[in-house]
Every structure is written in C-alpha cells, then in structure tokens.
Amino acid sequence: MVAETVVHGGGLRDGALVRARGLAKRFGDFEAVRGIDLDVRPGEAFGFLGPNGAGKSSTMRMVSCVSPRTGGDLTVLGMDPHTQGPAIRARLGVVPQQDNLDNELTVRQNLHVYGRYFGLSKAHVRAKAVELLEFAQLVDRADDEVEPLSGGMKRRLTIARSLINDPQLLLLDEPTTGLDPQARHLLWDRLFRLRQQGVTLIITTHYMDEAEQLCDRLVVMDGGKIVAEGSPGELIARYCSREVLELRFTTDKPDAAAIDGLADRVEVLPDRLLLYTADGEASLAAAHQRGLAPASSLVRRGTLEDVFLRLTGRTLVD
C-alpha cells in the first residue's frame, strides 16, 4: 500500500497540484474551454500544445485563479479558486502570454513592487531581487528602465518576477514566443534549473522542440478540448510512425494511386508529401521503383510536430 502523498502541507488529494474535471470557460455564447480533465503532479513539467484559439491561455488563466471557471471542478494546490483565490495565488508564479511589466520603472523596482503584493517584507524582497537578477542575467540592467530592454530581457524579467514569492507552481504561457534562439536556450536552461529545485511547471508553447525539451507530459488542445495526452515519446509512438519520409515535387504531385501502399499514412501538404512509415529508406526505394521522381527527399524521425499536424490538421506556423 502506498500512502497518499501530501505535498507542502496543502490538503492535496491523490497528490495532484492541479486537478480539473470537466473544466469549462464560456465567454458569452462562445465556449473557449469545453470540459477538460487535468492532473498535474508535483515536480513535473506539464505542457499544453494547441493551435491559436485552442483555449490554452483561457485554461492557464483559470488555473492561475484570475479567471473564474464557468463549469466543472478545479482545485489548485488542493484549494478551490472560487473561495481561496488569494491564498492560492500567493503560492503561484504566473508568466502571462503578454508581458505586463511597468515599463516606466527600473528592472529592480519591478521586482520590488511586485514582491510586496505577496505580503513579503521590503528587506526580503530586496534580497530576493538581487538573487533573481542574477538568475535572469539582468544584473547589468538592474537600474535601467524596462522600456528600452529587448524582448528577451523583458521576458526574462517577467519570469524572474514570477519567482519573487518562491512559487510552488509556475505557470508559463508561451514563455519563449518571439525570442531569438539564444534567448530561448537561456530560458530553457533557467526553467530546467527550476525543475531541478522541485518547482512544478505548466507551460504552453507553439514550439515542438520546446515541448520535447521541457515537458514530461503534455496535452494537445484543439477547439477547447483535449485531443491527446501523454509523454512526448508516447504521443509520437501513438500518433506517428517511427520514421517520416518527406518528398518534394517541383512539378505536379503524383496522384493518390501512385503512392498508395507506400506508407502507413500519407499527409499532403502544399509543398510536400509526408509518408509515415516504419522504414523511410525502404519506402523511398519503393517510391523510386514506381517511377516517382521527387525533386528532393528526406528521411527523418517522427516528431511531436507530426503528432500535432495529425491531431489538429494544422501546421504550427500560421
């Protein structure tokens, strides 16, 4: 018998930091989140993938206890956001999709002012700010106004700010959107360190590599519903093939009959064909044998991106 774990003193049933059942969000007549179930466990990094408008941010805002749910059940850190919103928010870190830093204050002042809302003393907030400036590599800019900072620096500051209260659960809504690769890698590194310290992460992202890097478990949302759930590896195994053969044609693409049977499944994109197959090289050889002459071909591993494409019928870039 394994005893139920109670984490951080909260009244957590079955150890889930976030537990949703039939969670729904309605804006007027429009239902943005249509009854989803979630269990986020302590210490894990949990991801949301989904096309624009899938309901990721709406869900995040409900979990961060700023947006009241309109249906279903939700507990966060073992408490109900309806009745214990402030107590829950005291232990959350929130990185919203859109930054809301005070651009006219300095980097350091942003941390000071924000920290105070968590009931922290001035001395504590000052000490914590020094530590977070280091963590976010913003020491050089600490006493500059926020306004002229680069997008990546602002994002790092937002993340630093979200940590001012040593949150137990950190919610990051598209933390790296719009950042250059170097800034993204720096953020990943920081998030990885937080995970090692036992902070539970919930992340939404449009980047499959980010999801694969950071998330132990993820859900794919589409149209307000969860359409798949699992670890990145599980999802690839379940919804994709081991390998994918990409064929590009400069002239007309071959008709359906010509490619029939070459692979388990074929996806026709505007610029190329994707053939889902266990053995890409074998499929390519078979295609050549049938007289197909693609301008170029590529055999690669199945990825989350393929899963996403299959589940939502959309590519990520739009």
Binding site: P68, E104, F118, L120
Partner: protein
C-alpha cells in the same frame, strides 16, 4: 536560488493589500511627479494671483463675497476646484493605462491582491495625492495672505472629500473603457470645466438664471464649495452642512462600490 531567506509569501490582510496598491502607484509617481505636481499646485496659485489679487482688486467686499476681500472669498473655493481637477485627471488616463496600455493592474490581479483591493487602493492613492497638492496650495495661499482663519483646515478635508465624490464614479467608469475615444476629453470639456466656472467657485450661484441652478446643485463641486466656505468663514448652518456632507459622502460610497464592480468585471474575465 538557495541563498536568500525563506519565502513567507501569503495573502496580505485586506487593508494591507489596499495599502500595497498605493505603494505601487507611489513607486511610479516618485519617478514622474514633477509635471503633474506643477500643474496641480502651480495652476491654482496662478488663478489665485490673477483672479484673486489681480481681478479681485476691482471688486468691493459685499454681501456676495460675505463681506470679504475677493481673494479671501476665492481661496477656499479654489482649493476645492483644483482638487476636483487633479482628481479628475488621476481618475481617467492613469486608470485606463493601468488596464490597457501598461496593464499593471492585470499583473497585480495574478498576485494575492484582489480586484476590489486594487480599486480601493487606486481611490486611496488619488485621495492622498489630492490631499498633498491641496495642502501645498493652501500653504502658499496662506503665505500670500489669502487665508483668513484656521477654518481652512476644514476646507482641506472638504476639498479631498469633494475630489473623491467626483473621482470615485469616474474611476469606475474609466475601468470600463477599452480605448480613449473622446470620453475623457468630453468629461473635462462638458463636466469639469463648466462645473469649475459655474458651480460657485468664482461667483455665487444665485447670480445664475433660475433654470440653471438645479444643474449646479447636482454637481459635487457646488456642495464642496459651499462646505469649504462654511468651514473657512465659520458660516455653516447645521442642516445645510449635513446635507452637503451627505450628498458628497453618498457619491464617494456609491462611486467606490461601482469601482469595485467595474474593476472586478474587468479583471476577472
């Protein structure tokens, strides 16, 4: 991340939370106070000099001025008018900015501080801001010799009350706006300015046509001006004073409740 003291994060007590919002607004103001302080103190001083001393030198003390020099008649009303103007500004652009452009209130909403506490904090901030600039004005007016008695301390309190009676509903309204169409300009042009000109600041309301007077009676500024003069000159009648206080108090309470509602609606979507 391990060196700093252990976190003691918690939801602050309600009054503390309100005060923290004031602290946040002050953090911004401390860096940017110069221009607005100048306009909210210097402007009424200029009015006092030009109209009170300059233009007032042409006016004989009469029943209309309570037998006082015009400048002494003007000063207690000018502090009210100026307080309302300052509060009107603070209740409009900065509030919309905090929801829409700077989004700082959106940020606070993710902390343990609740929307109602943000609303009360914003109102308390405006009250303090107005209290400080009104005090500065009255000190200058005293030095210039425009103040007749210590009753002016009462005028200071009245100025803050009147400013809040006007600002509270306006703060509530500003929290409902998505963009600055012409709404704020309209508030200044069609409410604040006419109120300042006609609601008893510069001349008694009984000089106005009969049909205009009821319009004046529903303005907070008229009630404030009456109260402020009553305090400064010790001429108040109990019933009238109670009536003015009740009117202004009711506006503050209703405005604040309305602001709590609009802040909550705006932030809890």
């Amino acid at each position: 991340m391990s060196t700093a003291t252990k976190s003691t994060a918690h939801a602050p007590a309600p009054l503390t939370a309100v005060w923290l919002v004031v602290e946040g607004l002050w953090a911004w103001y401390r860096r940017n106070w110069r221009s607005s302080a100048v306009s909210s103190v210097l402007e009424p001083v200029l009015f006092l000099l030009a109209l009170g001393f300059g233009f007032g030198s042409q006016i004989q003390p009469s029943a209309a001025t309570g037998g006082l020099d015009y400048v002494a008649y003007l000063a207690p009303a000018l502090v009210v008018a100026s307080a309302v103007q300052t509060s009107a500004f603070e209740a409009t652009y900065p509030v919309l900015a905090a929801f829409k452009w700077k989004r700082t209130f959106i940020g606070i909403a993710s902390t343990p501080v609740a929307p109602a506490q943000i609303a009360y904090g914003q109102l308390l901030w405006i009250a303090l801001r107005v209290a400080v600039s009104s005090t500065a004005f009255l000190v200058i007016a005293t030095v210039l010799g425009a103040v007749t008695s210590v009753g002016v301390v009462g005028s200071l309190l009245v100025a803050v009350l009147t400013a809040m009676a006007f600002a509270a509903p306006v703060v509530a309204y500003s929290a409902t706006l998505e963009t600055e169409g012409q709404q704020f300009t309209a508030i200044f042009r069609f409410v604040v300015v006419p109120m300042t000109v006609f609601a008893g600041t510069f001349f008694p309301v009984d000089q106005l046509p009969v049909w205009v007077r009821p319009l004046v009676w529903v303005t907070p500024m008229w009630h404030g001006t009456e109260l402020s003069r009553a305090a400064a000159f010790g001429t108040g009648e109990l019933l009238a004073v109670l009536g003015h206080l009740l009117f202004l108090g009711a506006l503050v309470v209703l405005g604040a409740r309305f602001a709590v509602r609009t802040f909550t609606r705006r932030l809890e979507v």
